[in-house]
């Protein structure tokens, strides 16, 4: 059987891990096969979970989250016959598939939408943890906002500096309220489980929010502008489907591959004007075509626009 390890935050974070869960469930429904899974409780459990699954003969083993990087680097060589897939991180080993997403591209699109939907000209960003990956989201977002409205103000906050920050809705909610008081009327949460609190506070206070990873539009119908979808589900589905013969190596999913995007459904249809859709679609085409180069924060650990 294949196995799936969720990062801290848990599989029902309505966001990143939940997307992985959806992919796994879809695979299960499609193939009728079963899989093993575990939700990490602590940092130190990573290695044990990996080893335990490998010892028990699970194959392939998929894990969600960059934090598995160094542990996997160590464990993978011990189990050369087992295939591993890691999402959001690159691990260079013959039996590992590394899947990364161009989050900056998707964030660019929702940034444009935020700028266009904003009436105050101030939009917010709430990141989970202060790490390059989240800066990558933020930087793409900022670029998108500025592209649509060069005068816009962007307020940025990070929930915390530790993995606990992925799962702190209270803090997410308070940060949102603080941003609202500073004038923000659209807030983008790239914060895993913490985002639930952000979306909640935004809905309570009557402003718009933008979800992340999974399509979160349904959480507060008519209050969530859109979601920056990151198709972790596809990555997981593909890895499971690959089975023991999983193709290893480096795997980038961007706008071109539909690995990232923005979510449209009945819940947010009234919020998104045709004009917005048109602008965003145009930008998307240009990005795919390489006409717009969205800067990737992680390429040089810097963001050209603030």
């Amino acid at each position: 059987d294949p196995a799936l390890i969720y990062d801290l935050g848990g599989k029902f974070d309505k966001s990143f891990n939940e997307a992985a869960h959806v992919g796994a469930e879809k695979w299960k429904a499609d193939t009728g096969n079963s899989y093993n899974e575990i939700e990490l409780q602590s940092e130190a459990q990573r290695e044990q979970a990996l080893r335990r699954f490998a010892e028990a003969g699970n194959n392939p083993i998929v894990m969600t989250g960059f934090a598995f990087g160094s542990v996997l680097g160590e464990v993978a060589p011990d189990y050369p016959d087992t295939k591993f897939a890691i999402i959001d991180m690159v691990v260079d080993a013959p039996n590992v598939r590394s899947v990364v997403f161009n989050e900056h591209e998707g964030s660019y699109l929702v940034g444009m939408m935020a700028a266009m939907a904003s009436e105050s000209g101030t939009v917010g960003f709430i990141g989970g943890m202060d790490i390059p990956l989240i800066r990558k989201f933020a930087c793409g977002y900022v670029q998108g906002v500025k592209a649509a409205n060069p005068d816009a103000t962007i307020i940025q906050n990070m929930t915390g500096t530790t993995p606990a920050a992925w799962n702190d809705p209270v803090k997410g909610g308070e940060l949102t309220k603080a941003q609202i008081s500073q004038g923000a009327d659209v807030v983008y949460a790239a914060a895993g489980g913490t985002g639930v609190g952000v979306l909640q506070a935004a809905a309570d206070e009557g402003i718009l929010s933008i979800g992340v990873d999974s399509n979160q539009n349904h959480l507060h119908p008519g209050k969530v502008l859109t979601s920056m979808t990151k198709r972790v589900d596809i990555a997981v589905y593909d890895a499971f489907a690959g089975g023991m013969d999983l193709e290893t190596g480096f795997n980038v999913l961007g706008l071109a591959e539909d690995g990232v995007g923005y979510a449209m459904d009945d819940n947010n249809a009234p919020l998104v004007s045709d004009e917005m859709v048109a602008a965003v679609e145009a930008a998307k085409a240009k990005i795919v075509a390489g006409e717009i180069a969205v800067h990737d924060y992680m390429s040089d650990n810097a963001c050209p626009v603030k």
């Binding site: 029902f12 909610g173 309220k177 603080a178 500073q182």
Partner: protein, 321 residues
Amino acid sequence: MDFATVLQVFDSTVRLATPLLLACLAGLYSERAGIFDIGLEGKMLAAAFFSGAVAAVTGSVWLGLLAGIAASMALSGIHGLASITFRGNQLISGVAINFLAAGLTVVIAQDWFQQGGRTPSLVGGARFSPIELPFAEAVKDVPIIGQTYYQLISGHTALVYIAFAMVPLTWWLLFRTRFGLRLRAVGENPAAVDTAGVSVIGIRYAAVAICGLLCGIAGAYLATALQAGFVKDMTAGRGYIALAALIFAKWRPWYALSSTLLFGFLQAIALRYQNIDLGGFVVPVQFMDALPYILTVVILAGFVGKAIPPRAGGEPYAKER
């Protein structure tokens, strides 16, 4: 900082201080009666879960509140059993209760909802909604006073008002009633109460029960008012901060109000300003996070005046050695 921001920070202070205040008053009843309680954290956590869970299932926040109170009081009962009836170590009992709550909430949440130790999100009547005080809308544009009334005073959930009303009520109960006299006496010298023909055990259980009640409200506030549902460990050390506030408050109700507001304010600041720039020197957010704890240590060290706990605090009352 403009006035609107100040109001916002204070508004956030009130929200964040409310659970601290409730828990602090809860601890006040217990410790004034001579029962140390480091299990405030656990009781709040249990209450947060059960209120969230029951509210999610029934759709009624009031039923949720009742369930939260019941859960918290059940843990109080255990604490009472251990520290009053069986005269065990109150600190150890408190530690055990914190663990019990941390474990049980997740185990039960997982069993009931299979959502990784959380409850479903609460919507509509399953949550406390803000109460608009009279005329708030009308005066909202009156500078300063009207704004303050509208932004800061109006628009909180019922539990916030309950929490603040508990302060004068607690004062009155402790210092103006027979029950209060006996409760304070039992924390100072239980033998005096006993030989005066009053049951020490009865009073102590009553105090511990009130403690459970208030912790229950505090927990329910976290899950059903401040947030929309329970997530694991959602109390995040608030019980300990409440305890610190209690010491800071020298076990007095009005001081408890100011000390919890102070801690709430610190949290509000830490939330709002990640890295505070003090003219070149950047205060890291981790420092702000740790500030309430650091402050507690400073207070405990007696640098901010000495706090003398109730004399019989922490000592089980045993007539026979």
